[in-house]
Subunit: 341 residues, 2 copies
DNA sequence: AACCGCATCCAAAACGTTTTGGAAACAAAT
DNA sequence: ATTTGTTTCCAAAACGTTTTGGATGCGGTT
């Protein structure tokens, strides 16, 4: 049914070769022929068959993005925004974006392997890097293009874009102590995730810089969801000596923490300080607005994607490792200087 | 570099045809040969070249999902959850999911056309249907498979999954009046979106059933974001006679409304009732928890995807139009019966 | 007249699969 | 001895493109 090169060739009385070359503006085709071919192609509504092109060129013009996510009900605003950044950039540069989800674990690598071997994608975007990340190890080993949002502990350097969240958290910790807080809790996430590792580390050091030791009993391990943050905060606030400040390692858990505090009858930003990390859109519009560290997720998505495509095309990439500087966003949830308690 | 059928054929001393047929378990291949071919294929790490398969079979095993979204900073939890439902189902049934974003408008149709003509996808998932939806018109016309989340006003029926949000809103309106509210405002969204149309309609009728006329001056038109809901709510609450209840047509705007009310010193659920629609995860964990109408977005994603794939495969679909019953989720944000003001 | 350079064209191969339409070998039935 | 049927195999075509390696003709130089 659809129009092929052959159809055009027959119509204009030239060979398929010539038609193809005319459409690609090769200079061994006369201007008149080019003109003719182009006109007829447009008239007939020709669109090249992508699969045939891809087969022939041995590339897919597709980049893969496998969301490492558990269970059905995931809804991290992070992902949709990052996805938009990657997707739009990919489209702009002529690439498709192939998305799937796979819970982290055993079969994850199988997923990647399958996509690589069956020529389904030209490269991968990796997110939620882990301290020891088998995905990155695998792709490095077989020398398959990828760019990660986040670093790993693997000594072999790989291309990445990341924010220096260690620094961000250090600044935040400084800020909390400067406001007068002493009993400070931290809601972390599983330590094998690189970014929570950095954030906890930065927080701990930031407190230490001001002479405060982060008590291990004041560290909760959450699952990055609102519900998770809520549960841990409830537990922290039920203690005989509850913290006066709680820093969560992402905004979603911070929002849960706010709910927990309000349920305890506390006025957030006055009776208790709560902070997050990410600066998701919600952070600005919750009540009270959340003090957090900004992370330009959409832009990071763009950068990662652009870098990946450059690598795929073997173009020159001037910076293979990009570390962005974080910026503190002080809002009402951490209040002014502490006075009571 | 990668292993092809030809490589296997040479190794086992059979033809490419036989190898292909052996791997597909055709019964004109002897058990011994099958066994041999399979073993060697596994040994050599054979994975079929997808592009070649697709070219030959004239299908892509890919479904398209074009997010109709404006600007960079979009972050509707709706999308990520729906996406997960669609994506996981697609993967389970052996399909790829091709995602891109395109702002609604002129070029949108071009996007679809291009993907159709170049054989990039076998079908589309459509979301955010509009009263007069050119995407659906186009795809129906050329008889290209698609399934929509949402209905349209086009008389020609198309396959869809939708929730009866008119009913949901009617119940919600009943509930608010039963709590004693009289001055009630509604935050809608642009009327060309089918779902906001239904929701406004249902709300209006629900009030009418209880003898209350929804005042046009009490209807704001938002952009479905938290920020938008906030702005409209601020305006409503600044009036000399502010509403005692505000119903937003989605949760995100309801959350913005809560912020606005709190900024006005109101205790939500006590001084004012606020309701949403969708029951996004955030609705449960904000403060106070949001009264809303549940919409099983992940499951709808699954259903839409499953239905689409059945249509692509020309399998029997017993229900082409599925309308789900909504269920009210009463939480604290609308409080008990109204007493003050 | 022979050669060269140039402009324009194209047949055939290649990418890796699946499908089509038999062929070959053998056993069983007539 | 021929036919019929069964089992197992395969060459070749097809999907629609791009690339390779010339071929052809023509005007201009020697």
């Amino acid at each position: 049914m659809p129009v092929t090169l052959k159809d055009i060739a027959e119509k204009v009385g030239r060979s398929v070769t010539t038609v193809s070359r005319a459409l690609h503006d090769y200079d061994d085709v006369s201007p008149e022929t080019k003109e003719l071919v182009r006109r007829v192609a447009a008239e007939m509504g020709f669109t090249p068959n992508i699969m045939a092109q891809r087969l022939q060129k041995r590339r897919t013009d597709t980049i893969g993005f496998i969301l490492p996510t558990f269970g059905p009900r995931f809804s991290d605003p992070f992902f949709s925004e990052f996805l938009a950044g990657v997707g739009n950039t990919a489209a702009k540069l002529g690439y498709d974006l192939l998305v799937s989800t796979c819970p982290p674990g055993e079969q994850e690598l199988e997923f990647y392997r399958e996509k690589v071997q069956s020529y389904r994608v030209d490269g991968f975007v990796i997110v939620r890097t882990r301290r020891d990340d088998t995905r990155i190890k695998y792709l490095s080993e077989i020398n398959f293009p990828f760019v990660a949002f986040g670093r790993t502990e693997n000594p072999a350097q790989h291309p990445y874009v990341d924010e220096d969240s260690e620094l961000g958290m250090r600044l935040l910790a400084n800020h909390l102590v400067d406001l007068g807080h002493q009993k400070i809790a931290f809601i972390a996430a599983p330590d094998h995730l690189m970014f929570t590792h950095y954030r906890l580390k930065g927080f701990r050091e930031g407190l230490l810089e001001r002479g405060i030791l982060l008590d291990d009993s004041m560290i909760g391990i959450g699952d990055l969801t609102q519900r998770g943050g809520y549960a841990i905060a409830m537990e922290l606030l039920d203690r005989p000596e509850p913290p006066t400040a709680i820093a969560a390692c992402n905004d979603l858990m911070a929002l849960g923490t706010i709910s927990a505090a309000q349920e305890h009858g506390l006025v957030v930003g006055q009776d208790i300080a709560i902070t997050g990390f990410d600066n998701i859109p919600l952070a600005e519009h919750c009540h009270p607005p959340l003090t957090t560290v900004h992370q330009p997720i959409y832009q990071i998505g763009e950068m990662v994607c652009e870098m990946l495509i450059k690598r795929i095309r073997r173009e020159f990439v001037d910076e293979e490792q990009i570390l962005l500087n974080p910026s503190l966003v002080i809002r009402q949830s951490c209040g002014g200087a502490i006075t009571r308690r």
